[in-house]
């Protein structure tokens, strides 16, 4: 187990939060590349090779490409490179935190951090569950998107974004309803009425 795996979630989350704010103030693209290199070094220290890093980057490539082209056209290529490098660094850093931290520990830390906000109406347990669900269902939604894409391709439909997005939204909403029902059934909560369907 690497030092990053052994590190408690608190410092890792704090680093991520600090980077999320601090990197906004870095305006030199080369300095940003240094931070990106530092993040990649973190993957190496954690024992993750190039294949794992590629798996983290691949799903966001199209988004980064679009961002680069739009920003490049509107505000110049240097700024576009800076923004893309910043976003890539933050995404990889977030991936590194989740890859080296058990979700259970991450959520427990998050819930502890949110406890002081309880008097303001924040329910730490519910926020923790929401984060867990996001982590759980991101790959499921990616699989659904792939299924929809295949189904559309099989029907001879092109790659129009609407042909992918609309059926995906319908599926995700249906899945969300089923997940809510499952949580209700499994959690033994009685702090609300049963689903009135």
């Amino acid at each position: 187990m690497s030092p990053l795996h052994r590190c408690p979630p608190g410092p890792k989350l704090a680093t991520l939060a600090l980077a999320g704010t601090g990197l906004m103030f870095v305006t030199n693209p080369f300095a940003m590349l240094d931070f990106l290199a530092l993040t990649l070094l973190g993957f190496h220290v954690a024992g993750f090779g190039g294949a794992r890093i590629w798996r983290q980057i691949r799903p966001m490539l199209w988004m980064l490409a679009v961002l680069f082209l739009v920003q490049g056209g509107l505000a110049g290529w240097t700024l576009a490179a800076l923004i893309v490098a910043r976003l890539l660094t933050l995404m990889l850093l977030a991936s590194l935190v989740t890859l080296t931290t058990r979700t259970e520990d991450l959520i427990a830390t998050l819930e502890r951090l949110l406890t002081p906000l309880a008097p303001l109406g924040v329910n730490p347990a519910k926020v923790g569950l929401a984060v867990s669900l996001a982590l759980r269902f991101l790959p499921v939604i990616a699989e659904e998107a792939e299924r929809v894409r295949e189904a559309q391709a099989a029907r001879g439909l092109g790659t129009h974004p609407l042909a992918l997005i609309l059926p995906l939204i319908v599926r995700v909403l249906k899945a969300a309803e089923e997940v809510a029902e499952a949580i209700e059934a499994r959690s033994g909560h009685d702090d609300g009425p049963a689903l009135s369907r």
Partner: protein, 263 residues
């Protein structure tokens, strides 16, 4: 419309084994040390509907057996009926009692007594890894962390998932996901488990495995299914049609009545 056969005295497991039904399937192994009493479910004059369409129409039935199957055409009301049993739905009219508990008033107690396994395990598994998802049902229980971990280990061993303890849930096969979904319910030790089409998305081998898991349960099991062989060895089968129970008998006669209706 009244059921074709009104249920009489509950049959014993051994008499069921000798019953005339000869379906080839997964179930049929002797049940291990059963608890003293099965869950008693009383449904009195229950109506329920969605969007102005009546889905359940005046259901009256008392269930006291350990293995109860529910079959019927799509839209016949069987899944709605199943959801009444742990308070996922409350009836628009009529009474539901689970061992005397009213889901409208004693929801927490009913949920602890009745577990629910959904058709699609992908939407029942709510946490990212196998271990975390199994432990989800124990969240909020008073038992300590060590006790919870021991329970998780025990159930992982029982279902042959120990090697997958840290595995991401989305990487599991369909059969493994369904076993995980069942394990996640069983860890809370409910008295009764409702299965809503548990084998629909599974291949034959995994369907048989899930069937065996159900057969081996010490709890009351109520299984909504289109997989008729799964009901071999069951004590009682209800046939639903258009929101009513139209046959209520041992598996043999009940399934014959169902097949006749569907052909």
């Amino acid at each position: 419309m009244q059921p074709q056969v009104k249920w009489g005295n509950p049959m014993t497991v051994s008499s069921i084994a000798a019953s005339s039904l000869r379906l080839q399937g997964a179930a049929g192994s002797p049940l291990p040390s059963l608890p003293a009493a099965a869950t008693t479910i009383e449904i009195s004059d229950v109506f329920h509907g969605f969007d102005g369409r009546e889905v359940l129409r005046g259901l009256c039935v008392t269930l006291t057996q350990r293995r109860i199957g529910i079959v019927g055409a799509n839209g016949s009301g069987k899944s709605t009926f199943a959801r009444l049993l742990n308070g996922l739905l409350l009836p628009a009219r009529g009474k539901v009692r689970i061992d005397g508990l009213d889901p409208a008033r004693d929801l927490r107690a009913v949920r602890r007594k009745v577990g629910f396994v959904f058709q699609n395990p992908d939407t029942q598994i709510v946490l990212p890894t196998v271990e975390e998802d199994i432990a989800f049902g124990l969240k909020g229980h008073k038992s300590g962390a060590a006790d919870r971990a021991a329970k998780v280990t025990e159930i992982l061993d029982r279902f042959g998932l120990a090697d997958l303890r840290q595995a991401p849930a989305h990487r599991l096969s369909g059969g493994q996901k369904q076993l995980l979904a069942i394990a996640g319910v069983l860890i809370t030790a409910p008295d009764c488990i409702v299965f809503d089409e548990p084998t629909t998305l599974l291949d034959l081998r995994n369907a048989r495995r899930v069937g065996q898991v159900i057969a081996d349960l010490t709890q009351t099991a109520i299984v909504v299914t289109h997989d008729l062989p799964l009901l071999a060895g069951f004590d009682r089968v209800l046939v639903f049609d258009q929101g009513r129970i139209v046959a209520d008998d041992e598996p043999g006669p009940a399934l014959r009545a169902y097949v006749e209706r569907m052909t």
